[in-house]
């Protein structure tokens, strides 16, 4: 049993995240792992709104937010400024949501990867534009309801699967790309610590359940985040130096039925048995079962 110490917290309590927020849980863990010698670049997102609303701040480390889509470029500038000043110890970390990362900020992110900027980029992935009221992003899962992937007579939820960000990161040949979950905090912490000791671009995609967006009981955040992994729907992996052939699975799923995960969430409540079967078949194919 690890003793909990308040002073570890760099991302402090008192912020205004929803009860049961997966992102807040993940960020607290990430920041504990990183420690005080860092600069956080945040993008416009839930996390910005609930942590840095004037005149309060939840951050005990230097923090900057500029716009929605430029986390990777702002961090590039911070990183180069530190280099110009001969500072080779302060870590530059981006904390950004999935919309700001995989959609509107993707060009900037891809550019930073191509240049192999010395940045640890963490995407907390709650699978939608949750901050603005649950609109679909490229990280919204197949068939999920959002306010812009509605359930209608003709179309039922999001018609496209998630854009695979870890694979895309790895395809850039960056030193480290990994996927984590707010349900596996030790695995997340290990990945952050490992990434901190690597030079160049590092990317971690952290599944972070969202109570209002996913529509589940707030006390089930960890359970939902765990079930995503146990069912095989969310893969906990690491890919180093773009070597996709040697992808490492850090937590082996026990392949509970996907229904166990889907049935806890209101965003999937419209699914038919056939649709659930199709999602299960996709998982089986993905894991070659």
């Amino acid at each position: 049993m690890v003793e909990f110490k308040r002073e570890w917290d760099i991302f402090t309590s008192g912020h205004t995240a929803c009860a049961g927020c997966g992102a807040a849980l993940a960020i607290r863990t990430i920041m504990r792992a990183i420690g005080k010698d860092c600069i956080v670049v945040n993008t416009t997102s839930c996390s910005e709104i609930f942590s840095a609303c004037f005149p309060r701040s939840a951050w005990k480390v230097p923090y900057i937010h500029v716009t929605f889509e430029n986390g990777a470029s702002v961090a590039s500038g911070v990183s180069r400024a530190l280099k110009a000043q001969g500072n080779n110890h302060t870590k530059v970390v981006v904390i950004a949501g999935d919309g700001g990362t995989a959609d509107i900020g993707f060009g900037a992110l891809s550019g930073s990867w191509e240049r192999n900027e010395d940045i640890l980029y963490i995407m907390y992935n709650n699978g939608a534009y949750e901050n603005t009221g649950i609109q679909r992003s490229s990280q919204t899962p197949l068939y999920a309801w959002t306010t812009t992937s509605q359930i209608g007579k003709e179309i039922r939820g999001k018609q496209e699967p998630i854009k695979p960000m870890v694979k895309i990161a790895a395809a850039h040949g960056i030193p480290y790309a990994a996927s984590a979950s707010a349900g596996y905090l030790l695995d997340l912490e290990n990945k952050v610590k490992k990434a901190l000791n690597i030079q160049g671009s590092r990317f971690i995609d952290v599944l972070s359940p969202c109570v209002p967006g996913w529509k589940y009981d707030p006390q089930l955040t960890v359970e939902v985040a765990k079930l995503a992994v146990e069912t095989g729907l969310w893969k906990l992996n690491e890919i180093e130096n773009g070597d996709i052939q040697n992808e490492k699975i850090t937590v082996q799923p026990n392949f509970k039925p996907v229904e166990d995960y889907l049935k806890l969430q209101g965003r999937f409540k419209h699914l038919t048995p056939d649709e659930i079967k199709y999602i299960q078949a996709r998982v089986n194919k993905d894991w070659k079962r």
Binding site: K36, D37, C38, I39, V41, E48, I49, A52, C53, F54, P55, S57, W59, K60, V61, P62, Y63, I64, H65, V66, T67, E69, N70, A72, S73, V74, A75, S76, G77, V78, S79, R80, A81, L82, K83, A84, Q85, T90, G107, A108, S110, G111, E114, R115
Partner: protein, 380 residues
């Protein structure tokens, strides 16, 4: 040091002499040669960091990060590049980041054109950036060190604008302010607040309606109050380099006894001056009021010059569709609250759009049409 070189290369040299530390550039005509030359200086180890970003949006964003981390920064762009930066230009001013950027002015699509006009910066006039319009390459290289001084002392970003091609691609003799001279004038950049893990600060916050207007009021006052510091900076630097361009905000070219005056910005002013010299030989009382600082706009100086004149012609190298053009509107605002508004006719001329040449002859024609009392609003 006097050299014969392209305007773009002169700009690049003075950026090095200003000891900019982090650069982020994306090539776009006609600013590209500045970015290229600076990249060569980086390759030669004369610039600490140069980020070859994938778009202008990232260029200005990277500088936001670098400037917040305490580095002196520089970028250059034109036209669509300025437009792509738009969102971040407002953000950087609001965050009080003293970034300096050289804009090689060019038209905005559509139709697509690569040549000069001032349309690209007009959407940015309300951003909080100080906008300085240079007539010549010599003025531009003498303005850049001032831009850093103004930016870093007032914590406001500064745009130094030069006309695309007319200046960027002109090869001429230019006296480049040397590092030793600039160092005497421009102290090292040491911001009071920066991103530093020893002294954490939260920058770029979110604000509720309770506070947001206060932030806007603060920056509005500071931009308004930047007129005097801009004048003082010009005064100070002109003593060091022995060259002077008006009072830092405006240049008065033979206006004092003039009856007819053109108000304009940037390189066309060279042609206007030539026209004035020729017309004055024939006894015509004509003059030029050149606007150097488009933001903050020198309302007081403009009003003082207009006082006693009969006819004013404002030349805009940009359009406001569905409204009066930008410079014209500001000139009208300069006289609105005074009695002289009734005593003077102020006409509007739009020209030089998309690189359409505006010549000495065009300037003479504007002066000629100003003899007529009727207020004109027309394209040249």
């Amino acid at each position: 040091m006097v050299k014969t070189l392209e305007g773009s290369h002169a700009i690049a040299e003075v950026v090095v002499n200003c000891e900019a530390e982090v650069l982020a550039c994306y090539p776009i005509t006609p600013s590209t040669h500045i970015a290229e030359k600076l990249q060569k200086f980086y390759a030669d180890g004369k610039i600490p960091e140069y980020i070859t970003v994938e778009q202008e949006f990232s260029a200005i964003s990277a500088l936001a990060g670098a400037s917040a981390a305490g580095a002196r920064t520089f970028t250059t762009t034109s036209s669509q590049g300025v437009a792509l930066m738009h969102e971040v230009l407002y953000a950087t001013a609001g965050m009080r980041l003293p970034i300096v950027m050289c804009v090689a002015n060019r038209s905005l699509n559509s139709p697509l054109g690569i040549w000069c006009d001032h349309q690209d910066i007009m959407p940015e006039r309300d951003s909080g950036w100080i906008i300085l319009m240079c007539e010549s390459n010599q003025e531009a290289v003498d303005t850049l060190p001032q831009a850093y001084k103004i930016a870093e002392s007032l914590l406001l970003p500064v745009m130094v604008c030069i006309d695309g091609f007319y200046l960027t691609h002109a090869v001429e003799q230019i006296d480049i302010p040397q590092k030793e001279i600039i160092q005497k004038f421009l102290p090292k950049f040491k911001p009071e607040f920066k991103l530093d893990s020893e002294n954490p600060v939260t920058l770029g916050i979110y604000s509720t309606p309770e506070f947001l207007q206060d932030f806007r009021e603060d920056i509005a006052k500071d931009v308004d109050n930047s007129r005097e510091p801009i004048k003082k900076t010009e005064e100070e630097f002109s003593k060091i380099i022995g060259r002077k361009y008006g009072n830092g905000l405006i240049e008065n070219y033979k206006c004092d006894d003039a009856e007819r005056v053109i108000i304009a910005m940037s390189s066309f002013c060279g042609n206007i001056k030539e026209a004035i010299d020729e017309l004055r030989e024939k006894g015509e009382k004509v003059g030029l009021l050149r606007i150097k600082s488009f933001r903050p706009f020198p309302y007081e100086d403009v009003r003082k010059i207009i006082e006693g004149k009969k006819h004013i012609g404002v030349f805009d190298r940009a359009t406001t569709l569905g409204g009066y053009p930008p410079l014209y509107t500001d000139v009208l605002a300069s006289v609105y609250d005074s009695k002289l508004a009734k005593k003077v006719s102020i006409s509007s001329f739009i020209g030089g759009i998309g690189g359409k040449d505006v010549t000495v002859e065009d300037a003479k024609n504007i002066f000629k049409s100003l003899k007529n009392k009727k207020i004109k609003r027309e394209f040249v």
